[in-house]
Symmetry: C2
Subunit: 329 residues, 2 copies
């Protein structure tokens, strides 16, 4: 664990004009870390631009400060310091940022094990549950007061990135810091209603249709793989888009005895986006890689071409090989 | 907050033979508190009977010590001390226990605001997130070593009763104690796989069918009420039972703009079990009471007779009255 915040605190003291940025297609931890840190710097009277090339996605638009995020750097004066939070590679900061160049000293604060230390200063700790946990530590070390708005943002980062404290990233520290954030003003119930109980109705209607396709694969797999399908027809019939499918693969994984959940989403006729989620030791990233995709051990994805039956067979065959090889070891 | 554990610690020291019991139809906190406390007393070399009239329900059978639970008190010698955990009323300890009588000193450890202090010694704190949190505090005060097995049981109690730290019961203390329990050996990922990712396939198939019935009520309610239906036909078609419907009402509540989610489960032709869940200030217990049922402000239930359309109309009319009265205030 190397959380050397001293040089970062120094730059906060010296700098006047700051940018805070996270990765493209931000999720809860990216948004919470970005907004929490931007808000903290503003309490010091700094000139702060919170930037995201992509829109703050649902359901995170309710977070304090979300309305201050700018989506273009056009005309922006140079920055003294730029904080990149929750981002593993420079390229994931987006084209406009990379072309902008006047970002000043780049400080990289992240918890991804794959982070390549692209910053001028790097505080990268894969043992942190979330980038928001590192921002929390930074604010404490810098002696910056954590307001209820900051606490709300950081709590959302930790709560979402630990899967509501259900993933292996749910460490003692993450729970204890979440507790302190609640003490500082984060409201777990109000947050949960916005994050987990504000789905568009079309998403739940689509979930019904997708679950109707649930299949447990018996042939040589003994129910260790479960598949669900989201077709274009289903999405159109309820007015849903591809974003509404987010998270559905977890339902396939959540079944007793299932080791790998698979979602096949039809992108266009004969092209399927495959999402793979494994429960334990099965490394699905290598399966995704065999189809030209990628990801992590327990969460990966790829695109596979063919009819639904062809695609399903290709993916299941690859998973059968993977699981049987693993069982022989 | 009155957590006066000193007399309880005294009884633990003095007693030799203990029973630990919780309420009938136990859920995660009841089971976790019961098993955690029983296990702790055993580490002191006490003679301990962990008793539950009802079977430990899925998915909690995996919890350490679940196999030690006895389901009958027949032939049991008298006890020095009986701990009732997570139980608000004596009657909810079950018929066999009440008829048994030889329970010794009855110690009531609970967090329900409705607890009527039925014990000889009562430690009742509605501010505690879970009975398991009170058991944790008791073990600390009694200086009893918390083993990984005990920590696992207490973590499950806190995690399930706070809705994965999404309910208003998710206090700073509950998060911090959960963090300490992880430090003591509870494994959040392993626990989550057993508690939240081990559903029978028939439950998810049934969920698909139930979600296909989702309706947002517009007429005078502007989408503030959402209904889902589980018919006998649906359950039979996938081989599911009434227990598989548990939690489905939350999907109706989880929609943007919805204030009250309603599940109508067909018990028999012309008899429906109604589950009501509200998000915020709408008190659904009074609506359930108007049909002879009961519950809490945000979670209540009742039975209503008639055809599906008749029952739905009765319930929606009652909710419309409730919500419009509330809005006029």
């Amino acid at each position: 664990m190397t959380r050397k915040f001293a040089p970062v605190v120094e730059k906060i003291k010296q700098g006047k004009r700051f940018m805070v940025i996270s990765h493209v297609n931000p999720e809860g931890d990216a948004v919470g870390s970005l907004l929490g840190l931007a808000s903290a710097l503003r309490t010091l009277g700094k000139d702060v631009v919170a930037y995201s090339a992509d829109l703050i996605p649902d359901p995170f638009g309710f977070l304090p400060g979300a309305d201050t995020v700018v989506r273009s750097l056009e005309g922006e004066a140079p920055f003294d310091v730029t904080f990149a939070v929750d981002c593993g590679q420079l390229s994931r900061l987006g084209h406009e940022f990379l072309a902008f160049e006047k970002w000043g000293i780049l400080i990289n604060i992240d918890h991804h094990v794959s982070n390549d230390n692209f910053g001028d200063i790097n505080v990268v700790d894969p043992e942190a549950s979330a980038a928001a946990e590192l921002v929390f530590d930074l604010l404490k070390e810098a002696g910056i007061n954590i307001t209820p708005d900051i606490a709300t943002n950081l709590y959302v980062g930790i709560h979402t990135d630990t899967g509501s404290f259900r993933y292996s990233s749910a460490t003692p520290e993450s729970l204890e810091k979440a507790g302190e954030l609640v003490r500082l003003g984060a409201d777990p119930r109000k947050i949960a209603v916005r994050v987990y109980e504000s789905y568009p109705a079309k998403k739940l209607k689509l979930l019904g249709k997708v679950l109707n396709t649930l299949e447990l694969v018996r042939d040589g797999l003994d129910g260790k793989v479960a598949t669900v399908v989201a077709s274009q027809d289903m999405m159109e019939s309820v007015g849903a888009g591809k974003g509404d499918v987010d998270g559905f693969v977890n339902y396939a994984r959540s079944i007793e005895g299932v080791e790998v959940g698979v979602l096949l989403r039809e992108c266009s006729p004969r092209d399927y986006k495959i999402s793979l989620r494994s429960k334990g030791d099965i490394d699905v990233s290598s399966v995704a890689q065999s189809f030209g995709g990628g990801g992590h051990k327990n969460a990966a994805g790829c695109n596979v071409q063919g009819t639904l039956e062809e695609v399903k067979k290709k993916v299941i065959d690859a998973l059968r090989d993977k699981i049987s090889t693993k069982e022989k070891l």
